[in-house]
Symmetry: C2
Subunit: 326 residues, 2 copies
């Protein structure tokens, strides 16, 4: 394989082109000038082969997921993405095609999302591929959606559908063989290529529709729990209201035992948010404008903790509070 | 071991205290408001166990080096550090004391350098410890020292002493047994705990003394080569002028074959910079004010490439152009 500097020049420098502050990736650091009147938002996430992705996952898809999970954190704050820095450590056994595929994936997503590469670091490892990405965005000065600002009486909403990603992972592991090929493929895409809900987050912030927001990475129940805990309120989620995709609906119909996994499974990368009861119509209009389903799944009240209730109002036991890698 | 959220609350949240934008590490991302009239500088570096540090390295020292190598990149731009984000992946076999030690090391350096933790991510790995850190600093708007702006006719300077770190690594590997304990300890400290030359970088920028700068991570010859290549000039380094510490001087006296390793060894984390010939006096005054030796080691001229010459002006062959992990 080429040396580090040649790899950077060949595969990564093109990803920085057009971004003056990246200095062609030839300097020690990147310069960034946030637009007047806007604050910066910074977030970082790591992904480790064997923990966050399977070793046979194509490198371009790994790169895109790495970028997208960070963009999802920006979406939860209502931020406009600006750029990113990436570190990648890979073992000698990975050939140059792996690096080329990784960079190509980043390039594909740069065509979709308004971000450019600002800087990074590549290195060897004797272990599994280890990646990290820091994403930079902006919000109006002093602004930004938060987790901790929800109020008792707010309603709880979620975008898109829940549980597809965790079922997609099961498909990749050779489970859910009763589903047809189309359903299996649809679930795998949702696991491999999450959709950061940037337009939704920005609209919620700009239009003042949400009192608090979070992106669903740890699992619906755990992440709603983060809103409840940091806001000092209790959350009640109606299990029957949680939106499922057609494929997930069929999977659960065939094996009702799967249902519980959906809400603790994590990696949905949808947004969950709290909003005052009077905002229902504005939220419905926003959903239509974005062509993105937004579903009311519960409410916040005085107290602490998260409960999941069935249609009769009886509490559904929560065996798993959320996905954890510890 | 405690769960991820408990570890963050116990060991990492205190490192973010006092930094309002870190939001107590409870949110999806950090908010950062750069001071008026200043641009942001962002840099990221990864460190992998077995590649960048030995497995028996105490975790607090690993953390401090991780922070410092990134601060060194900020120093090379003349930036004032502001904060950092960190990702850490460690195997189950590391107990909670490892995490506690890692966070403690960051805390020790937060008492020395003006930075606070802004955010991060912790996760499991089945492989070696994998770390990354993104450091954020500021420079006057439009400013910042660069690598690519040196001119033919400039003189080349370097701070501190060169080669201690690479010899310190050899000591850790059980070599250099002829040195006495004090010398061995001095070299090991230089390898484990580099000193980011922040005050020097800021002064060079503020006083307009340098035409270009870089921090020495890849090795003196390779890094001077980066200045020469990106600036479109040739560099000539006088081998006899390169400043050595007393310990390194004794090591080389005992084994002259070591000399070549010093200039390609990397991880000095001193600053090298180019300056117009008329700046010699101002640079000497700055060195005295900072109590930091600054040594003229060569000059830039029209052409390309880097040559190392001995006292007679004869070229010294460069077997190794710089440290590389590929």
């Amino acid at each position: 394989m080429r040396g580090e500097f040649e790899l950077i020049r060949k595969y990564f420098a093109p990803l920085a082109s057009g971004e003056a502050g990246a200095l062609g990736l030839t300097d020690d650091a990147a310069l960034l000038s946030p637009p007047a009147g806007r604050d910066l938002v910074l977030t970082t996430d790591a992904m480790i082969e064997g923990v966050h992705f399977l070793p046979d996952q194509p490198p371009g898809l790994v790169a895109r997921k790495l970028l997208r999970v960070n963009l999802s954190d920006l979406a939860a704050m209502g931020a406009v993405p600006q750029g990113y820095l990436v570190t990648a450590a890979w073992p000698e056994a990975r050939d140059e095609a792996w690096v080329a595929g990784f960079a190509e994936g980043l390039g594909e997503d740069q065509a979709i999302f308004p971000v450019r590469l600002l800087g990074g670091d590549t290195t060897r490892t004797a272990g599994p591929v280890a990646l990290s990405l820091t994403a930079v965005g902006t919000v109006p000065a002093g602004g930004g959606l938060r987790r901790s600002t929800a109020r008792a009486g707010d309603l709880l909403f979620v975008s898109g559908t829940i549980g597809d990603s965790v079922l997609g992972l099961r498909v990749l592991r050779g489970e859910l063989t009763a589903l047809d090929d189309d359903d299996r493929a649809a679930l795998v895409v949702r696991h491999r290529l999450p959709e950061p809900r940037l337009a939704l987050g920005q609209a919620l912030l700009d239009e003042g529709l949400a009192t608090a927001a979070i992106d669903l990475s740890d699992g619906l129940v755990a992440d709603i729990g983060h809103i409840a805990e940091t806001s000092g309120v209790a959350a009640c989620i109606e299990a029957a209201a949680i939106p499922l995709s057609a494929a997930t609906g069929r999977a659960v119909a065939g094996d009702p035992g799967l249902r519980e996994a959906l809400f603790g499974g994590g990696e949905d990368y949808e947004l969950a948010f709290a909003a005052a009861p009077g905002q229902g119509e504005a939220i419905a209009a926003l959903a239509e404008r974005l062509a993105l389903p937004i579903t009311r799944i519960g409410a916040l009240e005085a107290g602490r903790g998260v409960t999941l209730v069935d249609e009769s109002g009886a509490e559904v036991p929560l065996a798993s509070a959320g996905w954890t890698h510890f």
